[in-house]
Structures are given as structure tokens and as C-alpha cells.
């Protein structure tokens, strides 16, 4: 008996879904709306791809992992023809940041680096391993641009650094006095080649200032420089690595890189960084988030269609007929939510899947570098865009059922999603406020468009505007889905209680 009743209800719901799908399908404007939404994503992707021409720009250095990197620093080097080691004492590291045009002031640059590096060549992006003292983060051993090992934590300041190469293996040591050595890390560096360069270096990444960055310069004094093993040449060659690189912010006005030897000491002045590139380092680059900006246009269409899907029934008094033939009132709304959500999902997925490769290809043709994404991330972004639009359509449907007025519902839904985004995108918005807006408002769902990764060892402006969201993609989407689910529940309750 129960089984019959259940299967009867289930059959009833299937036919209800079918009825709602027929309603949706047969209104020409709604299907057209979905197609237009899809097309808007593609069109803006094309616009993003063709609107910038950077042909002839110097190539973006790419690290061993395939990701863009910053690889510009001042390097005093000698060729290392086989295994060998190098030891040095860093007696001073001082940084300067311009406070205004032509007004260079001493300042702290937390990730200013002075130390030893062994690198395949002076080509930006080539493999390396390095040990260094930093402006504010102690001793670090870094390699492959993304790997960062913290040195021993202690109260005694470290002045001595040593780097030993044996085949593919590079080991870094630090010491406070030059006699007692502590191993900081051992890394395997593939592709060091037959004749890597080794020697002291200085890098000084741009310092974060409000919503932007300004280039800095640092000077370090190296003493007691000793080599062991198979080193070629006798003199150290001073050279700025990657001077033309697009990921190099350059020296502050009036300064330049140099290396000077006097009285057994080597003084090196340098700028730049050896690190993964982030949005701020590669401002000319494009992102998948930029290409998918058309999601906003699609969002407007989905919200209008989602709202009309229910408010038209109220306007034409069709809702009474619908409710007369459907015993469970709440189920009507659920069926509508499934239909409109699925349609928005499919339209969004189709748009995103077409827009991203097209936008990337056009950008590439125009010489614009696009931050690469793995195919798994690309799929996640496309599915996320589809889910975002589906959730927004369900939210619009629910708000439409609650307000029963098309204009009010469309405005309410668009404002709660688009206005927070506009406020987040305002460069004068403090990072804290922008961060909270991107956490608690429905605009949090745009985290699905994040493809960039923030890095501990790179100080930068990690704001939603730059493509870094405070929530992971799934959590941001869950915030919007939560708003949609709560609205749908309220709409179901109200539909049950109210006269139609």
C-alpha cells in the first residue's frame, strides 16, 4: 500500500517536472534568454581576448613546473663545472623603498633576499637552488620557484651561509658563527646542466603599499667568500638576471644594480625577486577569471528568466490552474527550481567551456600571456560557473515566488550579487571590508573563478579584485547555494500558507 502511494507520488513528481519543463520550453523568450546568456559569456571572453595587443613584448619567464615566475636579481657568478661548494658571511642587508618620486628612504622589505644560489644559467626561469637571509623571515632555502624551507628558528642572528652541490643534489647550511653549521635543507634540482653558475646574489621584491606595490632596492655586504670543488674562471661576473622580464618591476628611479669588491668584501645592490609570479607581479597577464567576466551578463539574464518563470504565473493568474492540478504546492516550486536550475547550468557550462579556450587562444594570438590552468582546474571553473548561474536562477525563482513581483525580485537578486562585487572591485575599499563582502554576500560564489594561488613567500595584494578570494571555490559557491536554499524554503512555506 505504502509502496503504491510512494510510487504514485514519484510518478506524480515526474509528470510535474515534465509539465514545468513544457512550460519553460514553449515560452520562446526564456529559451532565447538562456541562449543569450550563454552567448554573452563567450562574447565577453572574445572581447577579453582581442582587446589587448602585446605582440613583441618580452616573453614571460616560465619555471620548471610550467608556471610563470619572477626571476630577476643581481648575481655575481662563476661557472661550476662539476661538484663543489661555496661559503659566505652576510654582514649586512639593507633595503630602501621610495616614499615619493625621487625620495628613497630606508625601509624593511620582509622578503628581500641576500645569499647564495646555484642556477643552471642566467636565463630567467632556469632551475636553481638557493640559501639566503631575508629582510624579515630569517634564513630560507628555496628552489624550483615555489619550494620554500624555513631555516632554524633562534634568537641568534645567522650570518653564515653555505651551499653544496653534488650531482643533482644541493644542500644548504646556515651558521651563526661560521664554525657550527646546521643543515637547512637538501633539495634535488633537475636540469642543473653541465656548467651551472654559482655565487652570491641580492633580490628585493616590490613592497606592498596599500592597494599597489612599489619597487624596492636592497644592498648586502658579503665577506669571507670561499669556494671548494671544481670552479672555472677566477673572477666573479656581476650581472642583472632578467632585466627585460615582464615580471621585473625594475629599480626605483635613480638606483641600479651593481657588485663591487673592496678589501675582501663584495657589496651587491639588487632588485627583483626569485619567486612564483602572482597577479601583481604580472599585471599585463590575463586570467581565466578575466575571460569569464561575461558571467555577470549571463547572470542578469538568468535572474530575469528565473524570476519570470514564477511571476508570470502570478501575473496571468496561471498559478491557480497550476496549483489546482498539483496537490502538493511546495512540489511545484521544487519542480520549477529543478527545471530552471538545470537549464541555467547547461547554458552556463556551454558558455564557459566555449569561452575559456577561445579567449585563451585569442589572447595568445595577440601576444598576451594568460596564467595557465590545469585541465582539472579548467573543468572546475566551467562547472563552478554553471553552478553559480544555476544557484542564481533558483535564488531569483524563490525571491520571485516570495515577492510575487517581477521588478522587485529581479532588482533584489541582482543587487545582492552584483553590488557587493562592484564594491569589492573598488580599489579604495579596504582589504578587510572587501574580504568580508567576499565571504558573506552571495558574491562569494565568484570564488569559483579563482585560478591563481597566493604564496606565503611572496608579499602581494591578494584581493578578490586581483583574483584571490578569501573562500575556496566550493565554499564560495556554498554561500550562494545557501542563500538560494533558504529562499526556496521560505518560498515553499509562503506558497503553502498564502492564497494564490
Amino acid at each position: 500500500m505504502t509502496t503504491v502511494l510512494t510510487s504514485g507520488r514519484r510518478a506524480g513528481f515526474v509528470s510535474l517536472l515534465h509539465a514545468e519543463w513544457t512550460k519553460f520550453r514553449t515560452v520562446a523568450g526564456w529559451g532565447l534568454g538562456m541562449a543569450v546568456g550563454s552567448l554573452m559569456i563567450v562574447l565577453v571572453g572574445v572581447l577579453a581576448g582581442v582587446s589587448s595587443d602585446q605582440q613583441g613584448a618580452p616573453p614571460v619567464p616560465v619555471g620548471p613546473g610550467g608556471a610563470p615566475v619572477a626571476d630577476s636579481f643581481y648575481f655575481a657568478h662563476r661557472p661550476l663545472t662539476a661538484d663543489g661548494g661555496i661559503t659566505v658571511s652576510v654582514t649586512a642587508l639593507e633595503s630602501s623603498v621610495p616614499a615619493g618620486p625621487g625620495d628613497l628612504r630606508p625601509g624593511q622589505v620582509a622578503w628581500a633576499k641576500a645569499g647564495l644560489i646555484i642556477k643552471e644559467s642566467t636565463r630567467p626561469g632556469s632551475p636553481y637552488a638557493a640559501i639566503m637571509v631575508t629582510g624579515g623571515h630569517g634564513v630560507r632555502m628555496q628552489s624550483g620557484f615555489v619550494d620554500d624551507i624555513a631555516g632554524p628558528a633562534g634568537t641568534e642572528p645567522v650570518h653564515w651561509l653555505r651551499l653544496l652541490r653534488s650531482g643533482d643534489t644541493v644542500t644548504g647550511y646556515s651558521s651563526a658563527d661560521g664554525t657550527q653549521w646546521t643543515e637547512v635543507g637538501t633539495v634535488r634540482v633537475r636540469g642543473l646542466g653541465p656548467r651551472p653558475r654559482g655565487g652570491p646574489f641580492v633580490a628585493s621584491p616590490p613592497s606592498v603599499d596599500g592597494m599597489g606595490t612599489r619597487s624596492s632596492v636592497s644592498t648586502a655586504v658579503f665577506g669571507d667568500l670561499r669556494v671548494e670543488g671544481s670552479w672555472a674562471d677566477d673572477a666573479w661576473t656581476g650581472e642583472q638576471v632578467g632585466p627585460e622580464s615582464p615580471t621585473f618591476a625594475g629599480y626605483p628611479p635613480g638606483t641600479s644594480g651593481s657588485s663591487t669588491a673592496s678589501g675582501g668584501e663584495l657589496t651587491i645592490t639588487g632588485a627583483g625577486d626569485i619567486a612564483p609570479a602572482v597577479r601583481e607581479t604580472l599585471a599585463t597577464g590575463g586570467t581565466v577569471k578575466d575571460i569569464l567576466t561575461g558571467t555577470f551578463a549571463a547572470l542578469v539574464v538568468m535572474v530575469v528568466v528565473g524570476t519570470l518563470y514564477i511571476t508570470t504565473e502570478y501575473r496571468k493568474n496561471l498559478i491557480r490552474v497550476t496549483l489546482a492540478v498539483t496537490p502538493g504546492r511546495g512540489r511545484v516550486l521544487v519542480a520549477k527550481a529543478i527545471v530552471v536550475g538545470s537549464c541555467a547550468f547547461v547554458a552556463g557550462l556551454a558558455g564557459a567551456l566555449a569561452a575559456v579556450p577561445l579567449g585563451e587562444r585569442l589572447a595568445e594570438v595577440n601576444g598576451v600571456y594568460v596564467f595557465p590552468v590545469s585541465s582539472a582546474t579548467g573543468l572546475r571553473v566551467a562547472l563552478g560557473t554553471a553552478a553559480l548561474l544555476a544557484a542564481a536562477a533558483v535564488l531569483a525563482l524563490s525571491v520571485g515566488a516570495i515577492l510575487r513581483r517581477g521588478a522587485g525580485a529581479v532588482t533584489a537578486v541582482l543587487l545582492v550579487i552584483v553590488l557587493p562585487y562592484l564594491l569589492i572591485a573598488n580599489p579604495f575599499m579596504p582589504a578587510g571590508v572587501a574580504g568580508w563582502l567576499a565571504r558573506v554576500t552571495p558574491a562569494a560564489a565568484f570564488a569559483v573563478h579563482q585560478t591563481l594561488e597566493p604564496y606565503e613567500q611572496v608579499a602581494s595584494v591578494y584581493t578578490p579584485y586581483n583574483g584571490y578570494f578569501p573562500l575556496p571555490a566550493w565554499a564560495g559557491l556554498a554561500v550562494l547555494a545557501g542563500y538560494a536554499a533558504v529562499s526556496l524554503a521560505v518560498a515553499v512555506v509562503l506558497l503553502r500558507r498564502r492564497e494564490a
Binding site: G29, V44, L47, A48, S51, S52, D53, Q54, G210, T284, G286, D290, I291, T293, G294, F296, A297, V300, V301, V303, V304, T307, L308, T311, R315, V368, G400, R405, G406, A407, G408, A409, V410, T411, L414, L415, V418, L419, Y421, L422, A425, F428, M429, P430, V433
Partner: protein
């Protein structure tokens, strides 16, 4: 025409919706302005800030409610079928349209003035150290204030025209809010500065709100009054389309 305006005024006055919308518009405009003034880290002209423009941030939000009001004045009548009655009473269709547009402009001008003055006063109170000087009123401040009111009226006329063309409130609001809010977002992805500038010059919101600037005018994509003229052109085009449409189709 006078009787038609009086009739439209009576309709607008006796429905609760418009009153709440206008009150809400004033409230959200002042509230967002005050909030923006209190959280902004860059106020002084030294860092590129503009205290007057900052204090008028709420207009960005208030315009949405103005748009709904204007859409509902015409879309609501199409939705409920009342428009047929209106046309029976006043058979000259364009007179009806003009009367509605006049009434909407009037109420938006009044409510907009209240909202703009409220926002400036809120900015005066919230911004530290009297950075916003309201008295004696300077030319640029007056231009920003009066221009913002005119901008709100133009947004109302644009929304009114669009709604009269599409004859549906939800679609009308969707189109208007899309026109207003999308271009500033899409302009961010345009890499070429020239193309971006052109987009900002022709879009109704980014061009029209240039009138709020009081400092750094030479940095703007478009001059204050020229920008307002762009928004006016959008409104005029929408009204023209509405006048053509209302004359050629049966209701």
C-alpha cells in the same frame, strides 16, 4: 496634458509602493554613502581620493531603486491590464507617456535631492577633520550635487523608456540594471586602455557619474557635463523608442 499629469500624479500618490521605494532610495543612498565614507582608506586628494565623490557613493545603489520605480510606473500598468483603461481615459497615447515621464521625473528629482543632500551631510559628519567642506558651497561641489540629482532623473527616464518598449517589469529592470552595472565590470577586462576609455565614455553609468568628480578632472575618461550628456542621450533614445512603440502597437 495638465489633466493627464494630474491623473498620473494621483495614481502614483495613492499607491503605497512608490512611496516606500522613494523612502528606501533615500535611506540606502545615505546609508551606503555614510558607510563608504567611514571605511574608505583614501580620502584626501593627496592619495587620489575625492571627499565629495566618496560621499555620493550611495547614488550607485539608489539609482537601482529609482529604476524600479520608473519601470513599475509603466510596466505595472501593462502587467495588470490597467493600461487599456488609462488609454480609454486619455486616448492620446504620447500624452499619457509624457505625463507619466513628467510625474516620475518630478518625484525622483525631489527624492533625489533629499538623498544627495543627506549623503553630503553624512559625509560631512563621518569624514574626519572636516575634509568635506559644504559651506561656503564651491562650484565643483554644487556641480556634483546638482549633477547627481539630474543623473538620477535621467536614470528614471531611461528605465521608464526601456520598460515602455519591452512592456514587462522584470525584463525592463533586468535590461536597465544590466546597462548600468555591467559595463564598469566588463571594462575591467579590456586590456587596451583606449578601448576601455571608449567603453567608459559611452556607458550610461560610468559616463554620467563623472559629474560627481570634484578633483582630478583631467584624469576622467569624460568631462562632468559631457558625461551627463551621454546619460541624457541614452534616456532620450529610450524615450524616443517608447514614443514610437506606444504609437504603433495595440494593447
Amino acid at each position: 496634458m495638465r489633466r493627464a499629469v494630474h491623473a498620473e500624479w494621483t495614481k502614483l500618490r495613492t499607491v503605497a509602493g512608490p512611496r516606500w521605494l522613494l523612502a528606501g532610495m533615500v535611506a540606502v543612498t545615505v546609508a551606503l554613502s555614510a558607510a563608504a565614507a567611514s571605511v574608505s582608506t583614501c580620502v584626501s586628494p593627496g592619495c587620489g581620493g575625492d571627499p565629495v565623490e566618496l560621499s555620493l557613493t550611495g547614488v550607485d545603489l539608489g539609482q537601482a531603486l529609482v529604476a524600479i520605480l520608473a519601470v513599475l510606473v509603466i510596466g505595472g500598468e501593462y502587467g495588470s491590464g490597467i493600461f487599456g483603461v488609462t488609454l480609454t481615459a486619455v486616448p492620446r497615447r504620447r500624452v499619457v507617456l509624457a505625463a507619466k515621464a513628467a510625474v516620475v521625473s518630478g518625484v525622483v528629482a525631489v527624492a533625489g535631492s533629499v538623498a544627495v543632500l543627506g549623503s553630503l551631510l553624512a559625509g560631512r559628519v563621518v569624514l574626519p577633520g572636516g575634509q568635506l567642506v559644504l559651506w561656503p558651497v564651491g562650484g565643483p561641489t554644487l556641480r556634483a550635487a546638482a549633477g547627481s540629482v539630474v543623473y538620477l532623473v535621467l536614470v528614471a527616464l531611461l528605465a521608464f523608456g526601456v520598460a515602455a518598449v519591452v512592456r514587462d517589469s522584470a525584463t525592463g529592470v533586468g535590461i536597465v540594471l544590466g546597462l548600468l552595472y555591467l559595463v564598469p565590470i566588463i571594462a575591467q577586462v579590456v586590456g587596451d586602455p583606449g578601448v576601455r576609455r571608449v567603453l567608459q565614455q559611452v556607458a550610461p553609468m560610468s559616463a554620467g557619474l563623472a559629474v560627481q568628480a570634484t578633483t582630478g578632472l583631467d584624469q576622467l575618461p569624460i568631462g562632468p557635463w559631457a558625461g551627463l550628456a551621454v546619460t541624457a542621450a541614452w534616456a532620450a533614445a529610450a524615450l524616443l523608442a517608447a514614443a514610437v512603440r506606444v504609437g504603433v502597437r495595440d494593447d
